[in-house]
Amino acid sequence: MAVYKTNALVLRRIPLGEKDKIVTLFTREYGKLNAVAKGARRTTSRLAGATEPLMLLRALLAEGMNLDILTQCEIRESFSHLRSDFGLILRATYACELLDKLTVERDPSPEAFDLLLSTLYVLQRAVEPDAALHAFELQFLAQIGYEPRLDACARCGKDLADGEGAGFSASRGGLLCGPCADATDDTLNLSPAAARMMIRLLNEEDAKALARIEMTPTEREEIARVLRAHLRFRLERDVKSTEFLDAHRLGAMNLTPDAGT
């Protein structure tokens, strides 16, 4: 039975039988893969803590009949600061889910791995966590060819310098010029300042700089709405943690007034 070593981030895990887990790992070398962690649901297992979401591992895997087996691992980073902040957990979970939904198994993408990892690090010390998260969304979309068009009108192709558009259309996939904004049904507000911020987030690769970016309330609101629409239009499946994150951004994720008793 062949064994291999890899750096892996645990995206999620589901219980298997009484004592085991199936973990979804995003590995740098092999892409996304599912592996069985035997005995990992017992509190005494050395795999128990390591096979939880958001753990960065150096993992030893053995090829199995159906699923590979996670035989040993060492925690490289547990992101304990992320775990101690509700808003950061939601954002990190959302990033993992988005990546999970937009990748297929065993399709290596070291760029996506590095991007996710650096996003988790930046989230831990970002002045504006949403800047780090939107940068992840934009840069990941660019990696898979879904990036919104921000330098020209997405309908007529007219050059739009410095984000000077008149709105954003999810169906067109980018910024619109004045006449096109009027002629499009799903035009959303996107002020030039917010569009410029999106361009900056799309291109900023320096972690230190990303962690220092600040956004105005308008930028925060417009970018979140525009990206949400852009993603929804391109994804065939729902990203479930979106709903949570949006609710959290609107306030302390209050209970809806009339549900339940």
């Binding site: 939880e52 994150l245 549900a259």
Partner: protein, 199 residues
């Protein structure tokens, strides 16, 4: 494929729906039932029916009970100023087995799980807040699992409960009693270090 007589196939099929039971185990259980005396078989069937008919949720704490209010909630010897919040009735049982906790419980019925779309409205959080508004509690102990969902739930609850002016604590996580530091997994050690106490 082996063809069972229809009633037997039906029983195998029902067993297969149970958690952790595959086709082989389902077949083994079905054959076991087949060998039971009629009385034994009836007793098994009755137990299942009775559980379904009589067990419901406690109106106060949402633990399983066969009454409107469960035994723990009605026990006047317990400390009514101390409340332990658990995710699941099984966690309540685990806490009770220690014999150390003398307060009352509140069962959430799960944990916040963003990826599964389980939010505050799906849990008994509103009920918890109402309970704390109506009763004077000294302290709320949050006893959720030490994982992403358990952490998120604990933090969410802490924010909302502190608004009510109640003291909120969370059970400590660390090296298991009788465990060997050398053998403890890293995640546990990291948490144990985070939760270290002054001596």
């Amino acid at each position: 494929m082996v063809q069972y007589a229809r009633p037997l196939a039906r029983l195998v099929g029902e067993f297969e729906k149970l958690p952790g039971i595959g086709p082989k185990s389902a077949q083994r259980l079905a054959f076991y039932v087949l060998r039971l005396s009629e009385e034994e078989g009836q007793a098994l069937a009755d137990a299942i029916v009775e559980v379904k008919r009589r067990i419901g949720y406690c109106r106060v704490c949402f633990n399983f009970t066969d009454q409107e209010v469960c035994d723990i909630c009605r026990d006047t010897r317990r400390d009514a100023g101390l409340l332990c919040v658990v995710a699941d009735p099984r966690d309540l049982v685990a806490m009770e087995k220690t014999g150390e906790f003398k307060g009352l419980y509140h069962v959430l019925g799960g944990v916040l799980a963003p990826m599964e779309g389980i939010g505050p409205d799906q849990l008994k959080i509103r009920e918890l807040l109402a309970r704390l508004r109506e009763n004077d509690m000294r302290e709320v102990v949050i006893a959720t699992n030490p994982n992403v969902e358990g952490d998120a739930t604990a933090m969410y609850l802490a924010t909302h409960l502190k608004n009510l002016g109640v003291r909120v604590t969370r059970i400590a996580h660390g090296v298991p009693v009788g465990g060997d530091l050398d053998y403890a997994d890293q995640a546990t050690l990291i948490q144990a270090l985070d939760g270290r106490r002054e001596m």
